[in-house]
Structures are given as structure tokens and as C-alpha cells.
């Protein structure tokens, strides 16, 4: 996709001089963003057991979409839970934390961003961003427990007999959100079970919606507590996989008492986009210092279909 259709401007100050990639290898899902001087490509796969393999799948998908070869990629930055598991012999590679990357990803699309709430599969973060630079001023991250994360919502969906992507919409149908007081995923699960047991049969649908809404509010309360030191200065931006959940969007806006800014792309890609922006900067710095990877020869070579490629395609089903 052309960058200009996203940003609405002819030139984007974060465009790299050559194609670069950002990978955000999360605990549940892995995201890739490929930036060229004028375009952006995104790709998503569930994180596999072997993170390098997951990143290789993302890389192949991105190259295919952008019609580029591996040797065209000037720089890769990895972020997220699996960032340290990646290694490249042939492409310059750097690791940057997801906190720095989410800040840059959100900032590059919306320079008015001052506060970010990021909810991923296993952690949630509140980040205060400098609107002049996109740099992190302050951040708070949840404890090691799963309360206030996507994993908690995933568990809740299973208990309610719903697919994860249905959970938020069901919650929005609630007329009276159930009171879920436990901040602990294990205790909240038993609270849900007893709430479900109390729901009368002919009211199952309504009871389910109320429980779903209760779960979203419990999670949102937990996330809101992270905002203490970071504040809620607008623009407020919601990133991470859970940003796709309308029930969570509603619960957070209600509790915080402020609206999130709309983003031009799916903000599950915020971390990977930030990583790609950092990759572009590293590459530009290397070009300036004369240490950049040599540019590929302009001779187009026929693309060979290797057995490896066939295997990857079949994995993608």
C-alpha cells in the first residue's frame, strides 16, 4: 500500500532510503512491517514454537507482497517477546524493545500522540511519549500475572463458549455488566463460573453478554491502574492486538473518561512499524557513515522456487 494513502501526505518523514523490515515477535502473534521509500506492507502470523521460523514466514510473506528479494532488504529491527531469538547472517539486524517501538510506531502515524496504552497477549503497558521526537518519556508495565492482558480475554472467551474475536461485540450488548472483582485470572475464572451458574437458562444470551462486559471492565480497571504515573494526556492511542477488540475500547474509554485517537492502520502493527522506522534510521545512519550493506546489483534474476519455499507455503495453508 502507498504510504501517502495512509498518512494523506505526499512525503512521510519516516520513509527509509531503501527497503527495511520491522518484526514484532509477540507472545501470541507475530507481526511484520516492510517499509520501502513509498510503500508499506504488513503481515501477521500466530507465533510458533520456533521464533526464527515465525520470522522467516513473515519475511517471505512480506517479500512476496512487495515483490522484493531477500537481498533487497537493507536492515531488520526485531522487537517483542521473541526479539532476542532472531539472528541474520546476511542482513544487518538490531534489537529494540517493544516499549520504544510502540512509541515510535504510534508517533510516526500520529505525531500528536502523548499517551499509549498497549495491550498484548501477555503484557500491558502505558507509555508516555514525547510528541516532538516519538521518544519514550515514561513507561509502566504490568506485573508478571496475566490480569489485564489479552491472555485473560482469551481464557474468558473459552469459558463463555465464544471465539476471541466475538467477545468484544458480545460485551457491547450487555445491559448490566457483571461485577467481576478478582484481578487474578484464576480467581476471575471461578467468579465467572459461579456467575454463569446463576444465569437463568432462558436469559443465557443476556447473562453471557453481562459477564463478557464484566470481564472487559475488570481488565480495563487493571490497565487503568498503570496510567497513574504516565497520565492520560491526549492524543491517547490504543495499540497491540487487543486494540482490535471493540468491547475493550469501550470499557477503557468509559473508565478513563477520554477518547482514543483513531489510527489509519490496524494498531496491532504499531510495534512492528516502530521497529521498521528504527530499521530505516539505522540504515540511513549506516549509509551516512559509509558502512551500509552494499546495494544489490540491479540485474533482475529469475526467482527460483526452492523446496523450502514450497514447505513454507503449505504451512501457511
Amino acid at each position: 500500500m502507498k504510504i501517502s494513502t495512509i498518512t494523506g501526505e505526499a512525503s512521510w518523514k519516516y520513509s527509509p532510503p531503501d527497503p527495511v523490515i520491522g518484526f514484532d515477535i509477540g507472545s501470541r502473534g507475530s507481526k511484520g512491517v516492510l517499509l520501502t521509500p513509498d510503500s508499506i506492507y504488513t503481515s501477521f502470523v500466530p507465533t510458533g514454537l520456533y521464533m526464527q521460523e515465525t520470522a522467516d514466514i513473515l519475511l517471505k510473506q512480506l517479500l512476496r507482497a512487495a515483490k522484493l528479494r531477500r537481498r533487497d532488504i537493507a536492515f531488520v529491527v526485531g522487537t517483542g517477546y521473541g526479539r532476542i531469538s532472531l539472528a541474520y547472517k546476511d542482513i544487518p539486524y538490531q534489537v529494540v524493545t517493544e516499549i520504544t517501538c510502540h512509541a515510535m510506531g504510534a508517533h510516526s502515524l500520529n505525531p500528536r500522540t502523548r499517551t499509549i496504552i498497549d495491550i498484548g497477549g501477555q503484557d500491558s503497558k502505558a507509555i508516555k511519549v514525547d510528541p516532538a521526537t516519538g521518544k519514550v518519556l515514561e513507561f509502566v508495565m504490568n506485573d508478571k500475572c496475566a490480569a489485564g492482558t489479552g491472555r485473560f480475554l482469551e481464557k474468558a472467551a473459552v469459558l463463555l463458549g465464544l471465539e476471541l474475536h466475538q467477545l468484544g461485540d458480545v460485551a457491547l450488548e450487555a445491559n448490566e455488566p457483571a461485577a467481576i472483582s478478582s484481578q487474578c485470572v484464576v480467581f476471575a475464572e471461578s467468579e465467572m463460573i459461579s456467575l454463569r451458574a446463576r444465569g437463568e437458562r432462558h436469559q443465557d444470551g443476556a447473562a453471557r453478554a453481562n459477564i463478557a462486559a464484566g470481564i472487559h471492565f475488570a481488565t480495563a480497571r487493571r490497565v487503568k491502574s498503570l496510567l497513574g504515573r504516565v497520565g492520560t494526556e491526549p492524543d491517547l492511542v490504543f495499540t497491540g492486538g487487543v486494540a482490535n477488540n471493540p468491547g475493550m475500547w469501550f470499557a477503557l474509554e468509559t473508565l478513563i473518561g477520554a477518547k482514543f485517537a483513531r489510527s489509519p492502520i490496524d494498531m496491532i502493527y504499531a510495534g512492528a512499524l516502530g521497529a521498521a522506522v528504527h530499521a530505516g534510521r539505522h540504515h540511513a545512519a549506516a549509509l551516512a557513515a559509509g558502512t551500509a550493506r552494499p546495494r544489490p546489483t540491479p540485474v533482475a534474476r529469475p526467482r527460483r522456487v526452492t523446496p523450502e519455499k514450497i514447505l513454507v507455503n503449505s504451512q501457511n495453508g
Binding site: T97, T100, K135, M141
Partner: protein, 397 residues
């Protein structure tokens, strides 16, 4: 890089003889069959001068960091006790405890926080334990008078354990010796004021650890030449990110945050404001006059734990140390459920902020399951500090 699974810690080679000396001392504490009594204590407000004067073997009991020992102790407590207090109890378990703890004949505990007071009451079921009072109001004359009396009770208790009287001259002589050890350890720390310190934070923790196991004569004989060697190290021009660690104690055996910051991320801990780092070595005791008044004043005047009042003293000391060592960031870390640092954290963090020093707050325990999250936090913090450094360079141009 992290040596969690090897027997040797990832210390610099210069520190390995110190490490070996400490291990040998512990072995002797456990195995010696000479009839000398063995005393253990928990808190840095305990004056080891008196234990040394009585000629008993003594060690600070602050080994912790293993989840198994925590689980041993948790059988006696609620879950909301900190992992350190659980470890203190767990160490005394007859079957699965720590051999050093099992060898102890008598435990002395100056009452600091509620968890440790209760822990020492449980430990009293396993081994004779004396609980002593430590006044909170350090700025009042009556506190000093009371603490002096308490220290005399402590002396009497030790004399009973040792089976002999302890003279005032013996105590005064030990005050002089321990002062020498404290001063030397502080001088090691001062080497860390250099842009590229010749010893890591982990190395310094090892030197501080030795203070709690080694008799001061032995310590001075080994540390003095090491100091000469390290102070002669040439600066190689590197300037690692400088951090302070502030907060609750970092047990002997709990090195994962320090290893993460220094070995994996490459920043340096140049100073600690906690009772197992530099803090107890920033003050010395009067060497003349009444030794009990010298001990009472000396220990009350030392850099204060957050359990002391007024809290401002602790907060300002911490900020002052950060400035003195020119740190770029502070990692404020406390054990979950810590009744001292867990509830005073905002006063510390707000003060650091008012000084313009970025701070990272970490609450941790000994469960080892949060390595990834700790790493993300510490790494992101160092990224911010690197950015600030780059911005400062640009601003200066």
C-alpha cells in the same frame, strides 16, 4: 553470559579469590569442631563488633533467591510475607534448609519490619532466638539512650552464649577494626565514580558480601592488595550507562537483576542505596569514649533504612548518593509485599523525579518466572537513557 547454572558467579577474575575466601569461611562456620559458638543475625543494624569481641563465629543470614527455600518458609506464613522473610524461615528447615543456617547456635534479630519480627518468632521454634528493639525515631535523644541500653542487653546475651565476659576495651578494639573494613569498602566504591569503573556492581556486591562473613583482619589482608590493584587499572575510555539501585535488600544469592543489567544489557551499577550494597559503609563509628554510646549513635546515624523516621532522611540520602555518583538513572527495586519499600516507593520516586533523574520501578520476588518482563523493562529503560545521552550531546553542540 548469565552464570545461573554454574557454581562460580560471573565475577571479574580479580574477585574470584574473595569469593573463594567467603566460601571457605562459610565451610568452616558449618564444619568446625572446636566448640566455638555460632551466632547469626539478619539486619544491618546489628553491631557485629560485639560478636567479634566475644570471639564467637558470626554471619549475617541473608542468603536467599531460591524458590525452593521460599516454599519451605511459606508453610509457616501467609502468602503476603516477602520472599526474603520466607527464605529466612525456610533456611532453618531441618531437611531442606541451608547448611549455614542449620549450623547456627543462636539468632539475634533487631526488630525492623513486621514480617521479619514474625519470621524470627517462627525461627525461635528451631533455634534459640533473641529479638532486640531498634528505635525508629532516630532524631530523638531518648531513642539513643534506649538503644544504648538495648545494645548492653545484646552484649549480655552474647556473653552468655560465649561463656565469658566481654570487656569494653575488647569492644573498642573491634570498633576500630570494623571501621577500617567499612572505610576500605567505601574506598572500593569510590573507584566507581570514574567514567569507566574498574569494578562492576556485581563485583562490589561480592566485596560487601564478604564483610558479613569474614573477620575484619582476614578481610583487610585480602581486600587491601586488591584495592591497590583495581585503583591502578587504566581507564580504557568506555563510558557505560551509569545506574544506581535503590530499595530493599538484595540477598546473597539474588543476583539476577544485576546480571541482567550488567551482563546482558551492558549498563553499569555504580552505586547502591540498599543495606546489602554500599549503604552500611557510608558511615563510621566514634572510636573514643563509651563504646556502647558509640555503637548506639553509630548505628542510628548510619544511612537509614526506610523503616526509620523521618522518612525524608532516607529519601534525601538516596537522592544525594545518586548525585554524588553522577548516575544517569535509578532502578528502584523492592520485594513484593515489602512493608518498608513497597509503601514508601512514591516518596522515593517523586524525589528522584524532582532531581531530574529517571527512575524505573521494579517489584520482584524469587520466583524466576519474570525474566522476560524484567529484561524488557530494564532494556527499555537503558534505551531511554541512551536517547537522553544522545540528546545531551546534540544540545551541547
Amino acid at each position: 553470559m548469565v552464570n545461573a547454572h554454574t557454581s562460580l558467579p560471573s565475577l571479574s577474575p580479580d574477585l574470584l579469590p574473595v569469593h573463594a575466601l567467603i566460601e571457605a569461611e562459610q565451610k568452616e562456620f558449618i564444619g568446625a569442631e572446636d566448640g566455638v559458638q555460632r551466632a547469626g543475625y539478619f539486619c544491618a543494624y546489628t553491631p557485629p563488633e560485639l560478636l567479634a569481641a566475644a570471639g564467637v563465629r558470626h554471619a549475617r543470614l541473608f542468603k536467599a533467591g531460591s524458590p525452593e527455600i521460599v516454599a519451605n518458609g511459606e508453610r509457616f506464613t501467609q502468602s503476603v510475607f516477602c520472599d526474603f522473610s520466607k527464605s529466612c524461615i525456610g533456611g532453618f528447615d531441618k531437611n531442606e534448609g541451608d547448611p549455614l543456617y542449620q549450623a547456627v547456635d543462636k539468632v539475634f534479630n533487631f526488630h525492623t519490619c513486621a514480617s521479619m519480627k514474625r519470621a524470627s518468632e517462627v525461627i525461635g521454634q528451631f533455634v534459640p532466638t533473641t529479638l532486640l528493639n531498634l528505635p525508629r525515631l532516630r532524631d530523638q535523644a531518648a531513642s539513643r539512650e534506649f538503644f544504648r541500653e538495648e545494645i548492653i542487653h545484646f552484649r549480655d546475651d552474647i556473653a552468655e552464649l560465649a561463656g565469658r565476659a566481654i570487656s569494653d576495651d575488647e569492644i573498642s578494639a573491634q570498633i576500630v577494626l570494623f571501621n577500617k573494613a567499612r572505610r576500605l569498602i567505601q574506598r572500593f566504591s569510590e573507584l566507581r565514580k570514574r567514567a569507566n569503573p574498574p569494578l562492576s556492581g556485581k563485583d562490589f556486591l561480592e566485596l560487601a558480601r564478604g564483610y558479613y562473613y569474614l573477620p575484619p583482619e582476614k578481610l583487610l589482608a585480602t581486600y587491601q592488595p586488591l584495592y591497590e590493584k583495581l585503583s591502578a587499572v587504566k581507564d580504557d575510555g568506555k563510558r557505560p550507562i551509569r545506574l544506581m539501585i535503590s530499595g530493599s535488600e538484595m540477598a546473597d544469592g539474588d543476583r539476577r537483576l544485576v546480571e541482567l543489567i550488567e551482563d546482558e544489557i551492558g549498563a553499569r551499577i555504580v552505586v547502591e542505596d540498599h543495606c546489602t550494597g554500599l549503604r552500611p559503609f557510608t558511615h563510621t563509628l566514634r572510636e573514643d569514649g563509651d563504646p556502647f554510646a558509640a555503637l548506639a549513635d553509630g548505628y542510628l546515624d548510619q544511612a537509614p533504612c526506610a523503616r526509620m523516621k523521618p522518612l525524608d532522611d532516607s529519601v534525601h540520602f538516596s537522592g544525594g548518593l545518586a548525585k554524588e555518583y553522577d548516575v544517569e538513572g535509578i532502578v528502584f527495586v523492592y520485594l513484593k509485599f515489602c512493608a518498608c519499600y513497597g509503601v514508601t516507593k512514591l516518596e522515593f520516586l517523586n524525589y528522584f523525579q524532582s532531581l531530574g533523574i529517571p527512575a524505573l520501578e521494579i517489584s520482584s520476588d524469587y520466583s524466576h518466572s519474570d525474566h522476560g518482563q524484567l529484561k524488557t523493562r530494564a532494556e527499555a529503560f537503558v534505551e531511554i537513557l541512551n536517547d537522553r545521552r544522545a540528546d545531551a550531546v546534540v544540545a551541547a553542540d
